[in-house]
């Protein structure tokens, strides 16, 4: 009997201890330097290389700021956004979140993000060597909802061996869409490889096509589609269909089989050109045996179709309890030389001109190409796109579905144009309410 009671009591004690063990230690001890200890949560999306070097930057930061402990939360692009939304509903967003232009409106306009202007004004985020125009990329109205980390420009990445084999050259200052089409066809004819990848995803390259024709994708206020002539849509997709038909571009199914950068067409030497943002070049160049180079996309000059785009931003949520510390971390990420020596422009060309110059001098010839390309493109660049409107996630998916249906020949480009316009306008209108 006594034994049983003993077991019972000790179990109870164990249980209570366990409960205490589970509850987090809320008291914050003072750090060695007299500052209050804080824990910052920092979240980003990306691939393995980005996770690796970002973790190193975090270690560096913790060493220099002993009172700060950083919890990293990272995932790939898809999972990242699926995790972020519920966190936001629960008021549990990390203190520093990597933001994309496609989601800036969604989170910013719905009151989730803090305006960073005060932290810029009081110098927590030092903007001495950052162009005002670059910072504007993170603004909606006059609220700075995200601080740009790097600059990106659209580019055509070419496999120079394949181009030489096909005997074609690109004069990227002046080439036209027809030149591009002919080039792709010629590469296919001479080498049997694709002339171009399928220009994925359509939500990046169709808007670019519109810009070369002096049109825009979204209306400035986000209430609908801006381009009014469906012929543009039809022309764009007719060219895509033609390239697939002539085997100068992969079928949508083959594109869907690409699981990561490692088995991309350009990496495997199966295409002479791929369309992408400039910051992707570094990884492609690393993975590919053949020499690659960056070219300006077709017809960018006339309408100033190219534009500088924040590759990604850092935002601080309204729910964060240590906004100032979070801002200090952002400053470190942008202005610290050692940190940027680790980033090497993988998040786009650094926004600080001082840092960009330092980083560039440390890079290999391949890695420098991105910096040189962005410098060159800057001369041509026109007005930037405003942040994408609320509901754009749905419009992007709709455009992708429509593009698939056209390329799989389930509908004609004409039908696709009409269907896309009707549904996209409905989505955007619904999100205005």
């Amino acid at each position: 009997m006594l034994m049983r009671r003993f077991v019972f009591v000790s179990l109870c004690i164990l249980l209570t201890l366990g409960l205490f063990g589970c509850s987090s230690n809320t008291e914050e001890a003072a750090g060695a330097d007299g500052k209050k200890k804080v824990t910052l949560r920092v979240a980003w999306w990306g691939g393995q290389p980005r996770h690796d070097y970002t973790s190193k930057i975090i270690e560096l930061y913790e060493k220099e700021h002993p009172h700060v402990k950083i919890e990293a939360e990272f995932a790939n692009w898809d999972d990242y956004w699926k995790k972020l939304a519920p966190m936001s509903a629960a008021g549990q967003l990390p203190d520093v979140i990597q933001m994309d232009m496609a989601y800036l409106s969604q989170y910013g306009k719905k009151g989730q993000l803090e305006d960073l202007t005060p932290y810029v004004k009081d110098g927590t985020i030092n903007t001495e060597s950052i162009d005002e125009k670059t910072i504007k990329g993170g603004k909606i109205g006059d609220q700075l909802y995200g601080f740009p980390l790097g600059v990106n420009v659209l580019s055509v990445i070419t496999n120079d061996d394949l181009l030489k084999e096909a005997g074609v050259e690109i004069d990227d200052g002046s080439w036209t869409w027809t030149d591009f089409e002919n080039l792709a066809l010629e590469v296919e004819e001479k080498t049997g490889q694709y002339g171009s990848n399928g220009m994925h995803p359509p939500d990046v390259f169709f808007p670019y096509y519109l810009r070369t024709k002096g049109e825009r994708f979204y209306k400035e206020d986000g209430t609908g589609l801006a381009y009014s002539d469906d012929k543009l849509f039809v022309d764009y997709f007719k060219r895509q269909v033609k390239l697939v038909d002539e085997k100068a571009s992969p079928t949508p199914d083959e594109s869907a089989q690409v699981k990561g950068m490692e088995d991309d067409f350009i990496v495997k030497g199966r295409t002479a050109a791929t369309w992408n943002y400039s910051n992707q070049f570094a990884a492609f160049a690393q993975l590919t045996d053949a020499p690659l180079s960056l070219k300006l996309p077709p017809e960018q000059a006339k309408e100033k179709a190219l534009f500088l785009r924040p590759s990604m931003l850092f935002s601080i949520p309204k729910s964060s309890e240590q906004k100032k510390e979070a801002a200090a971390f952002i400053d470190f990420f942008i202005n610290n030389e050692k940190a940027n020596a680790l980033i090497k422009g993988e998040r786009g060309v650094p926004v600080s001109s001082k840092i960009a110059a330092t980083v560039k001098s440390q890079l290999s010839e391949e890695e420098k190409k991105i910096f040189e390309y962005v410098e060159r493109a800057t001369e041509y660049a026109g007005e930037a796109e405003p942040p994408e409107p609320i509901g754009s996630a749905e419009v992007i998916k709709l455009l992708k579905d429509t593009s698939d249906q056209i390329l799989f020949k389930k509908i004609t480009p004409e039908e696709g144009a009409a269907k896309f316009r009707k549904e996209a306008d409905a989505i955007l209108k619904r999100n205005q309410q």
């Binding site: 898809d78 719905k110 989730q112 089989q257 509901g391 996630a393 749905e394 998916k397 698939d404």
Partner: protein, 290 residues
């Protein structure tokens, strides 16, 4: 009092993870809720939009019904086939039972779905086998919406283990004397199977049919993994729950997604009800015999 304490883990879990979330979802289904701003009451708008103005919704319903109608009977037939064989075997039944059950244990997992995607990939095992058999043209399983859906159906058929075990138990329960009597009367193997085994097994078949149908309607993981969350190609693998997930977490339409979930609940209820109604026509209960 002690009794309540003992059942409290279940009660608390049931309240927190079933009753309250279901209530919340019923409420949300009448609202427009984007996770960021408080839900707005919109009455039946979600239901109306879904049923009258959403092509993709009807597409996903069609895909789901195709999946259920093709997958469940195949899976049950396969499970029964293996169970009958195992029932007749004398040696090594334990090992085979385990081997056949294995795919079901690891069935819902992400790893299996990833493996399955590679098995049917353009350079996967299946195309390799076909090449070995003399087909030199690769089949792009994921290029065509129907063949992509069939890879999902085959995956579900492959996971027949749990129904097989239940069938096996049912078969063991059929008294051997009926079979003996029939064979004395000159019934051959097929007659014995179709006229004696099947009717006696029908309650078990019915049970398996209902359970498998319900779980097939709710399939999510394989479709999500194999199509990388897209439901492609051309929405060919956009199962109902996958579309629901997209609405909720890609487009931030929690209200719409909740409404979809409730319609799904009603649909499953309806299908189960119909199955029960038909059961009197073909399910044979011994107690009814008079």
């Amino acid at each position: 009092m002690a009794g309540y304490a003992f059942i409290s883990p279940f009660i608390i879990g049931f309240l927190c993870f079933t009753v309250i979330p279901m209530g919340a979802s019923l409420f949300l289904s009448f609202t427009s809720y984007d996770l960021f701003t408080p839900p707005k009451w919109v009455g039946f708008d979600n239901y109306k939009a879904m049923l009258t103005d959403d092509e993709k919704y009807w597409g996903s319903l069609k895909v789901t019904f195709y999946y259920v109608l093709a997958g469940v009977p195949l899976r049950l037939a396969f499970a029964l086939f293996i169970a009958v064989i195992l029932n007749r075997a004398e040696k090594g039944v334990g090992i085979y039972r385990t081997l056949f059950y294995l795919p079901s244990i690891i069935g819902g997992s992400v790893a299996v779905a990833i493996m399955w995607r590679n098995v049917f990939g353009n350079d996967g095992v299946i195309n390799g086998l076909l090449f070995f058999l003399g087909f030199d043209k690769k089949i792009f399983w994921y290029q065509d919406p129907t063949s992509a859906l069939w890879t999902l159906i085959l995956l579900s058929v492959w996971q027949f283990g749990s129904s097989m075990l239940i069938f096996l138990a049912g078969l063991k329960n059929i008294p051997p004397m009926y079979q003996e009597a029939a064979s004395v009367d000159g019934a051959n193997r097929f007659q014995r199977f179709f006229l004696i085994t099947l009717p006696l097994l029908s309650p078990i078949i019915f049970f398996n049919l209902v359970m498998q149908t319900i779980s097939a309607f709710m399939t999510f993981t394989p479709a999500y993994i194999i199509s990388k969350g897209e439901g492609g190609p051309l929405d060919g693998t956009l199962l109902y729950s996958l579309y629901l997930f997209q609405r909720a977490f890609n487009f931030f339409q929690m209200g719409y997604a909740s409404a979809m979930a409730w319609v799904m609940l009603i649909l499953i209820g309806l299908v189960t009800f119909i199955l029960f109604k038909t059961s009197s026509l073909w399910v044979h209960y011994e107690s009814k015999e008079g």
